[in-house]
């Protein structure tokens, strides 16, 4: 354990919180990698960050169940509300408020009657998680809903994969030991890697697939 870590822990900050705080730069690296190199949809930087941090508190199994439950509920609620209110609703914010109320009822009913959800403790952290999830799914629906449920599933899965990978990364004992041993190195290396990734100019992995027909048709100049 480094002297900085020792000093901070002695000041009364718990080890878990210290690891969680220093895991943030690592999560940023993962998100930047997903955006720049893979070409995933991440809905900005902060939404996945909140989701990952809350997932570590809620737990992976409960987190994933809630994740899928909220996304499906949100899609269904919005689909029906849009049909009903398209002619009468004049303000989108009112529509959003109604949507959240209906979603809240569905979540309460879900916690009461769905066996999978019944085991999850309903506390402040879970509620916060649900709130972030609702906001995240709202953004996703805005972007992808007009293209149908099938196309909507793919970005949701991408975000879920990103959240799960980051969760396992920051809960890896080896990473946690490094955070405790070299906290400053973690910050400096993360900033350096993020700066490097932000200058990445090559095609994203998804673009190699997207432009495969173009690449096939490219004729390279012959060497003389």
């Amino acid at each position: 354990m480094s002297s900085i870590t020792q000093y901070i822990l002695n000041r009364g900050i718990s080890e878990d919180i210290f690891i969680l705080i220093l895991a943030i730069p690592i999560i940023f690296v993962v998100i930047t990698f997903a955006r720049r190199i893979i070409g995933s949809i991440t809905l900005g930087i902060y939404t996945p960050l909140f989701l990952i941090l809350l997932l570590t508190v809620v737990g992976i199994k409960d987190g994933i169940i809630l994740f899928i439950f909220v996304f499906i509920s949100m899609f269904v609620v919005r689909y029906f509300l849009k049909k009903i209110t398209s002619l009468t609703m004049t303000d989108m914010r009112v529509l959003d408020a109604i949507m959240f109320c209906v979603l809240a009822i569905i979540i309460i009913l879900g916690f009461l009657y769905i066996p999978l959800l019944r085991d999850i403790p309903l506390n402040t952290v879970t509620l916060l998680f649900l709130l972030v999830m609702s906001s995240c799914s709202q953004d996703l629906i805005m972007m992808w809903e007009p293209r149908g449920f099938k196309r909507f599933v793919s970005p949701v899965m991408e975000i879920l994969a990103l959240v799960i990978v980051s969760y396992f990364l920051i809960n890896w004992t080896w990473i946690q030991n490094i955070i405790l041993k070299y906290p400053l190195v973690i910050i400096i290396v993360s900033v350096f890697v993020i700066a490097l990734l932000s200058r990445w100019r090559k095609l994203k992995i998804k673009e190699y697939i997207r432009f495969r027909e173009v690449i096939k048709h490219v004729e390279l100049p012959e060497k003389k």
Binding site: L87, T90, D91, R199, R201, E207, V214, K216, V218, L220
Partner: protein
């Protein structure tokens, strides 16, 4: 695999586009333009560039409440000022006719959409409210402005290709040179909008001729025929007013002062060419539609100093045209040449001498000027008491051995005239103008 990765280096991706090409304009006027349709329109109108007429602008809910719907024309388009991907664009095709006493058709209060769906005033209010709330703007949280715009009327030549809506041509201009273009066809799914994200079809265009190349892209997949009319092929559509269109795209870039720009131009039945939109971050699907990488073209256009608009268009046609020709050559196995063509005469010492030759199908034999034979010291022979020169030349990459009649006509512009006998491996396209090779153009520029 290694070759695939090597080839992929020529394709432009989002990372490189944003880092290298999308730059914030330096000028104060330019800075406010990106993504602001109304400001761009205002600037273009000032510079006498044809843009669709703006009927009405609605900035807030108060203005919406005071809107006099009866004053609106029968057909129009509603757009969000900060919209992207064609989101929030509503095309209204006309007023719904109502039957009075079962005899006369009168214009009613309601309008009709592309899919013949009826739109009421309430629907329009609702749609505009969504725009004002920023639902369709590129940043969901920002409030926006809605505006009513003139609906462009389709050009008769393009009518068979779209049931509803207006096709437009997106021309990518970089460093004042048009580098790539695609025609965007609206479909019923896209509700009259030509945007690819909304279900429109993108078809690659040969920069030289303005004719659509073999395939189109629809929902990120390549298609050969129109999805709604399966017998209608997408290849071979001649875009009317092609050169004027390229000129307009260059002019638009010069006025907006944005280095990397996608200019959307439509052809109005009455007005002619109209700049519909200018995009600072145009989509990259244009590469799939053209089956050609954009990066190599952008690199070719970089650093070239363009003095006039005509020169920019000529450069674009020369550097990036010829796809149709290549296809034809592939099918027929013959090279396509124009009425004049650059050739290289090979002398006895295997030295190559460049000339511009005239292609003349009226004469059987190739002819060469006496002075040229002397200068190049070509082998001569007397055949049937007439002097002939024996030499070989390279035209469009093909090696031809000939026996040319020697002529002495100082008034003739060309040193060599190629006759039918030596044109067996070629097809002649009279429309193909001799364009200087890339190296020569660069030197001249």
């Amino acid at each position: 695999m290694w070759n695939y990765l090597k080839k992929s280096k020529t394709v432009l991706g989002l990372n490189e586009r944003n880092l290298r090409y999308v730059k914030i304009p330096v000028t104060e006027i330019g800075h406010s333009i990106p993504d602001n349709k109304l400001k761009a329109k205002k600037l273009l109108r000032k510079a006498d560039i044809p843009v669709p007429k703006t009927y009405k602008i609605i900035r807030d809910q108060k203005e919406l409440k005071l809107c006099n719907w009866n004053k609106l024309p029968n057909s129009f388009v509603i757009k969000p000022n900060l919209g992207t991907f064609g989101r929030g664009i509503l095309i209204v095709f006309g007023k719904k006719k109502t039957k009075n006493n079962g005899e006369q058709n009168e214009l009613g209060k309601n309008w009709v959409q592309a899919d013949k769906k009826i739109i009421t005033i309430e629907n329009l209010e609702n749609h505009i409210l969504k725009i004002l709330n920023g639902v369709h703007s590129y940043k969901i949280t920002t409030s926006d402005i809605a505006f009513f715009e003139e609906r462009i009327k389709i050009h008769p030549n393009l009518k068979p290709y779209c049931k509803r809506g207006i096709p437009d041509v997106r021309i990518m201009v970089y460093n004042k040179i048009p580098v790539m273009a695609e025609m965007r066809l609206p479909t019923l799914e896209s509700q009259g909008r030509a945007n690819l994200h909304q279900g429109g079809i993108g078809i690659g265009i040969d920069m030289g001729t303005g004719i659509t190349t073999s395939r189109g892209v629809w929902h990120k997949k390549l298609i050969d025929c129109l999805p709604e009319r399966k017998r209608l092929p997408l290849a071979g559509i001649k875009i009317p007013l092609w050169e004027e269109m390229l000129e307009l795209a260059v002019k638009t870039q010069m006025i907006l002062k944005i280095d990397y720009l996608g200019v959307d131009i439509a052809i109005d039945r009455e007005k002619g060419l109209v700049v519909v939109e200018a995009n600072t971050r145009p989509g990259l699907e244009i590469q799939i539609a053209n089956l050609a990488p954009l990066k190599t073209r952008l690199e070719k256009a970089e650093g070239i100093k363009v003095k006039t608009i005509k020169q920019a268009v000529r450069l674009a046609q020369d550097m990036f045209g010829g796809e149709i020709e290549e296809e034809l050559e592939e099918i027929s196995g013959k090279k396509v040449v124009g009425i004049t063509e650059p050739i290289e005469i090979i002398d006895k010492k295997e030295k190559r001498h460049p000339f511009i030759a005239k292609i003349d199908t009226g004469s059987l034999k190739t002819q060469i000027q006496k002075e040229t034979v002397k200068q190049l010291k070509l082998k001569k022979k007397n055949k049937e008491e007439k002097p002939v020169a024996l030499f070989s030349f390279i035209m469009d990459g093909l090696f031809v051995e000939t026996e040319a009649s020697i002529i002495d006509d100082p008034q003739t512009k060309y040193e060599v005239i190629i006759g039918r006998k030596d044109l067996k491996k070629f097809l002649i396209d009279p429309a193909k103008v001799y364009l200087k090779s890339k190296k020569m153009v660069r030197k001249k520029v």
